[in-house]
Symmetry: C2
Subunit: 202 residues, 2 copies
């Protein structure tokens, strides 16, 4: 991540960039990119604005680094999910991972990606495209996994792997929307169970 660490000349900074970034991620996750103000960010991070700009660049760069952290810390279950042995097992692990992400910690909240894609409506097109691109690369891995699954007979020939991936993503994104709208963990769990109950194939 190389975060502007320099040689020992001059006064060393008094805060831990990793901790500050983690705090920033919480704010972005709660408020979205545009909804998070620099004032709220700096307060949560425990630093002042000049320190933030010196260390992270600007708001957009900070958000990208927060996205990196989010993928690394919160979305790591995706990679392991894709290594399950059947398509249904992959789906189950993805669904349960998303469920855990949205029911854990403070209160229910949607996936950061969903929030960012939907909420960047004004002049943050760059951010929106960034999130969409990351999502696309994630979906690509999922499609490839389902193509293999199809070859292995996990689900009927009539089903298109790309369509199945898009469908599963839609359910998870919808779960995020409902989490943000105040659904209870039980309701979200029901959603997972229902999706698995109707899942085509093994």
């Amino acid at each position: 991540m190389e975060m502007a660490v320099q040689s020992g000349r001059g006064r060393p900074r008094e805060f831990d960039p990793e901790e500050a970034l983690a705090a920033a991620l919480q704010v972005f996750w709660l408020r979205g990119y545009e909804g998070a103000s620099m004032a709220e960010l700096t307060e949560a991070m425990g630093i002042t604005k000049p320190s933030l700009y010196a260390c992270f660049g600007n708001k957009e760069a900070l958000f990208r680094k927060a996205l990196d952290l989010y993928e690394r810390d919160k979305l790591c279950y995706v990679k392991s999910a894709l290594q399950e042995t059947t398509a249904k097992a992959v789906a189950e692990k993805l669904l349960r991972g998303a469920l855990a992400l949205q029911t854990g910690e403070p209160d229910p909240r949607a996936c950061l990606g969903v929030i960012s894609m939907v909420a960047c409506t004004t002049h943050a097109d760059t951010i929106k495209e960034e999130v969409i691109a990351r999502r696309a690369s994630s979906e690509k891995a999922m499609v490839e996994r389902f193509e293999r699954a199809k070859a292995e007979g996990d689900f009927p020939e009539s089903i298109d792997p790309a369509a199945l991936a898009a469908y599963l993503n839609a359910v998870m994104q919808g779960m995020g929307v409902q989490a943000g709208a105040g659904a209870t963990p039980e309701q979200l769990a029901q959603l997972v169970d229902m999706t698995l109950a109707v899942w085509p194939g093994r």
Copy 2:
């Protein structure tokens, strides 16, 4: 809707409130509540700010009236969908209605409700709650319809009508997210087909 129409004394207004409201709806639909600025709204509506405030109250009141119009004009398919003869037919009509809504007119865009629920992250809690409440009343009708469907044997006893309704809503909300993320109409249509293909029961 009674929109401050008064007796014939004084100069009559020079614009049509219905047309102005329709224009406002387009802006809210594209930008979300917080993303829509009064400047963009007034420009699209073809009126000035004092005229807007005199006729509609304030931004929040304007949004509520736009929501009314949205439900009346764009969500009318829901009511007719619930009158289909089987649960699957209801689901199909709902899905195809949502699809038409999100692929029509200018470019793909999510359901206004989804946008509003996810995007109101800062200090527009009132708006968010309003949208959530409306969605809840809509979902309630859907649950009741599915309870009847279950009694009529449209799907297995093991399936909870409320869970089925939440699941179907999740798919449609996810479809909205993907529409907002730039999915093509063909991809969204695939989503509908996939959901119907795995639909439990008749």
